[in-house]
Structures are given as structure tokens and as C-alpha cells.
């Protein structure tokens, strides 16, 4: 047996010692020492789908962009239409290269027309900050606030009830992708109805020094409901079932939003933005490959980087795992456009063995939208 290599000393979130205390298994992720699991990925995954789970995602970067020129600067820096964002709303967007490929994917929060926050991927935070600073024009000030904040994610059908008990105003009033400033156990917080799991839930952006107290209280309040602390392992299986892209796996600086099936984040009519010309060209010339969801029809798990073979040429698996919800191997792959239709059969080289797979509808998992209690 070859066991995975672990435990390189890196950055730690304010919750690191609590994770240790809770018996988490710690791994390196994006330059941080993060809990990959506590009780087990399958169990944590199930907790989020059926009840609720609490994640420490403080490794995510928070960049603030302020000033009279903030809105205009973000219109140029990101492909989604920031002018359509109301105060207290956020949307999914990106930083793109001139080639129209991903520098990073991110969330843009509009606090006011001159005050925005971006939540970016951990490993990309320094790169994003430098990129935004060097590409922003006009009267704006930027600050990397990652170290000041902790980000806790509470996800699952019981997240509303759980968070309500800690928040100074009723978080159930927030619309999907809405946010508000309020107190969480007396600490000033930004609470958003967002997540990366395919479930209803909230992300609580709180001062770093209050994080442990809040995380402990969430666990206590959730104990009767079997709410679990959840690690990055479950976060990955949850996001994959919901077909949410992971930077570094499914998207990177070789992939465009058209290819990633994220065209809805690109608003070509809003005016110029970095990467627009290349995206216009690719749209006219045709998109050579597409990110699709697949399931294995042969035995085996197709993982990130495994080569794919289609009738229209080669492709590559970008994410793959055992789906805890469906108890079956699923994944995402970049395949030639001609081989990307639902139902198309292809094969994946699983460590030297050709295993068959089929393109399927995504997301793999979609929660039933109910009136929340």
C-alpha cells in the first residue's frame, strides 16, 4: 500500500487547533493546512444532504475593492455585469486573461456602489490580488483582508434553523445570493446565502478572533440534529455532485467560460472587459471542447488528469470521485465538442485500463426546492 503524503507546515486558519481537537485529518490544500475529514467523507456528505454540516473555509481569500471607481473597475475586471448587482447581492464571476481563460473564479459582493468584496480561491489569493491591482483603472483602493476574517459555511436543509439561533437578524429573509451585515453571537459578520454544496445554506464571514467561539456554538446548537463538522473531502464530493467547477481541476488558465459551460457568467453586451475579444472570437469560431458530466458504465473511478478517448478525439477527466449520494463513480471531463452531447459514450484510461463512461445530464444532484421551514 502506498499511503498519501501529508502534513507540510503551511498557513493555518484561526480554527486549526479546534480541528485538531475534533480529531480532524489535516492535509495541505492551496497552501493551507486544512481538515479533509473528521468522522468520514461519506458520513459528512450525508449530513449536509440530509441535515446540516459546518465547514471552515477560512482559506478562501477576501479582497476588498472600494472607492468611487470600484464599480467601473470591476466591470472591466470581471465578465459578469456588476451594474445589475443591487446592494446586498452577490454573483458568481471570474477574472479572465486576455485569452479569455480563467485567472480565477470568484464571487463579487456588492455592499454599495463604491464598496465591494471578492471571495476568491485560497491558492490564487496572492495572484488575484496582484492581478486586480495591476489591471484596475480609476479611483479604487484594494485590500487583501483574508487574514482578518474567518469564513464558516453552514450547509444543508437545517442550516436556516441553525443559523437563526446565532444571528441578530433572521437569515431566512435573505434571498439566494443575497447577503447582509448582522451580528453573529455579538460579532460583526457578513452573512450570505451562498455555498458550494448544492444545498441551501449560509456563509458567515466573521472576525478571525471570533471564529472558534462561533464554530463551537454552531456544533453545540446542532448536536441534537446530528449536525457534523465537515472537511474539504465532503466539500469536494458535494460540489462535484452539484457540478460546481473547482479551479485547478475543472477550470484554469487554459479553459474559457464557454468551454466550462459557464457562459451564463459572461455578459457580452455589458461593454468591454478583460478577455472579451478572445471570447467573442471563440464564440464565432466555435468552442473546441466542453466540460461535461459523466458517469462510469464500467467499474472504476476516473480521477483528475486521466486521459479520455472519444470518437472525435482525445479529452481529459478534470474531476472524478465516488458519488456518495448515488453510490456510483461520477466526474467531469473536457471532451471535444462533437463528443459532448448527453448520451455520448467514451472511454477513460484508468491506470492503463480502458473503462467506459457516458456523458450525462448535470447537475448530477439537484435539491428539491421546498418552502423552507
Amino acid at each position: 500500500m502506498s499511503l498519501p503524503n501529508e502534513g507540510v507546515a503551511l498557513k493555518r486558519t484561526p480554527l486549526y487547533s479546534l480541528h485538531r481537537e475534533l480529531g480532524a485529518k489535516i492535509v495541505e490544500f492551496g497552501g493551507w493546512e486544512m481538515p479533509v475529514q473528521y468522522s468520514g467523507i461519506l458520513e459528512e456528505h450525508r449530513a449536509v444532504r440530509e441535515r446540516a454540516g459546518i465547514f471552515d473555509v477560512s482559506h478562501m481569500g477576501e479582497l476588498e475593492i472600494r472607492g468611487p471607481g470600484a464599480l467601473e473597475a470591476l466591470q472591466r475586471l470581471t465578465p459578469n455585469d456588476v451594474s445589475k448587482l443591487a446592494d446586498g447581492r452577490c454573483h458568481y464571476s471570474a477574472f479572465l486573461t486576455e485569452r479569455g481563460t480563467y485567472v480565477d473564479d470568484l464571487l463579487v459582493y456588492r455592499r454599495a456602489a463604491d464598496n465591494f468584496m471578492l471571495v476568491v480561491n485560497a491558492s490564487n489569493t496572492p495572484k488575484d490580488f496582484a492581478w486586480a491591482k495591476s489591471h484596475a483603472t480609476g479611483d479604487v483602493a484594494m485590500e487583501d483582508r483574508t487574514e482578518d476574517y474567518a469564513l464558516l459555511s453552514v450547509q444543508g436543509p437545517r442550516a436556516v434553523a441553525l443559523c437563526s439561533r446565532l444571528c441578530s437578524s433572521d437569515p431566512s429573509q435573505l434571498p439566494y445570493y443575497g447577503f447582509s451585515t448582522m451580528e453573529v453571537l455579538g460579532a460583526p459578520a457578513l452573512v450570505s446565502r451562498t455555498g458550494y454544496t448544492g444545498e441551501d445554506g449560509f456563509e458567515l464571514c466573521v472576525p478571525a478572533q471570533d471564529a472558534e467561539r462561533i464554530f463551537r456554538r454552531l456544533l453545540e446548537e446542532g448536536r441534537g440534529d446530528d449536525v457534523l463538522p465537515c472537511g474539504l473531502g465532503a466539500r469536494d464530493t458535494l460540489r462535484l455532485e452539484a457540478k460546481m467547477a473547482l479551479y485547478g481541476n475543472d477550470i484554469d488558465d487554459t479553459v474559457t467560460p464557454w468551454e466550462a459551460d459557464l457562459g451564463w457568467t459572461v455578459k457580452m453586451k455589458k461593454g468591454d472587459f478583460i478577455g472579451r475579444d478572445s471570447l467573442e472570437r471563440q464564440k464565432q469560431e466555435g468552442v473546441p471542447r466542453k466540460l461535461v458530466g459523466f458517469e462510469m458504465t464500467d467499474r472504476g473511478i476516473a480521477r483528475h488528469g486521466y486521459p479520455a478517448r472519444t470518437a472525435s478525439g482525445p479529452g481529459v477527466v478534470t474531476s472524478g470521485t465516488h458519488s456518495p449520494t448515488f453510490a456510483h463513480p461520477i466526474g467531469l471531463a473536457l471532451l471535444p465538442t462533437a463528443a459532448s452531447a448527453v448520451g455520448t459514450e467514451f472511454s477513460v484510461d484508468i491506470r492503463g485500463r480502458q473503462a467506459r463512461a457516458r456523458v450525462v445530464e448535470t447537475p448530477f444532484y439537484k435539491r428539491k426546492k421546498e418552502v423552507s421551514a
Partner: protein, 128 residues
């Protein structure tokens, strides 16, 4: 605690010798490190392996690991129950979670493997 009637390899497999047959599995330490096992790939009966050769793979949600046989011989049986329900390997790595049975080609290899006591010490040293 690791059973005293087994012998252990540095790659975290164990072997139980009964007559000419060696039963092979992974250790409790290995299953804990891997986390929940969701997929097992085992060889066909009849395959012949040399000691330390890869005979299959075990996958948790997060990772793939190769399996190495601690002893040389021909595979005479595989644990089909574990293939269809790999969680057995987590639940009972030294019992129902065994992986393959091998007809030993020599009786000289087993004595070179670690005893339970030696393996315990080995794991403790590895964790430091």
C-alpha cells in the same frame, strides 16, 4: 491492536499463513489512513505474483493506493464480498475484509516479514 498470528509488510499489508495458503489484507492503520474505502480492484484467480508486486488497488473517496502482495504465489481466491462492499475492509480489516488468498510458492518469505510487535513500532516511528 494488530493480531499476533499475522505477519506484516512495510507497505501495510498483512498475511495469515494456514498450511500452503496465505491470506492477504491491509492493516488497520492502512484502512484508517485511507478513510472510507469505496472501490477495490483485485486480480483474477490464477494470477501469479512475486512478493512486493502490485496485485490491485484500493480507493477511498479521496485517493487511490496500490496493493502489494507480501508473499509470492498464485491467487486461489479473491474476496468478492469485499469487492461488492468495500466498506468491509474498513470495518474488519483482519477478518471479513481480507483481500486475496495465495498459494504460497515458498515458505521462506513469511519469516522475513514483521511481527505484530515490530509492525506496531514501525507504524509509530512512521507517524513521527
Amino acid at each position: 491492536m494488530n493480531p499476533e498470528d499475522l505477519r506484516y509488510a512495510a507497505s501495510h499489508e498483512w498475511v495469515r499463513v494456514q498450511g500452503e495458503t496465505g491470506t492477504v489484507g491491509i492493516t488497520d492503520h492502512a484502512q484508517k489512513e485511507l478513510g472510507e474505502i469505496v472501490y477495490l480492484e483485485l486480480p483474477e484467480v490464477g494470477h501469479v505474483y512475486n512478493a512486493q508486486e502490485e496485485f490491485g488497488t484500493v480507493e477511498s473517496v479521496k485517493a487511490v493506493s496500490e496493493l502489494f502482495t507480501p508473499v509470492s504465489g498464485e491467487v486461489v481466491e479473491i474476496n468478492k464480498a469485499a469487492v461488492s462492499e468495500p466498506g468491509i475492509v474498513n470495518d474488519d480489516p483482519y477478518g471479513d475484509g481480507w483481500l486475496i488468498k495465495v498459494k504460497l510458492s515458498t515458505d521462506e518469505e513469511v519469516s522475513k516479514l514483521m511481527t505484530a510487535e515490530q509492525y506496531d513500532a514501525y507504524v509509530q516511528a512512521e507517524e513521527k
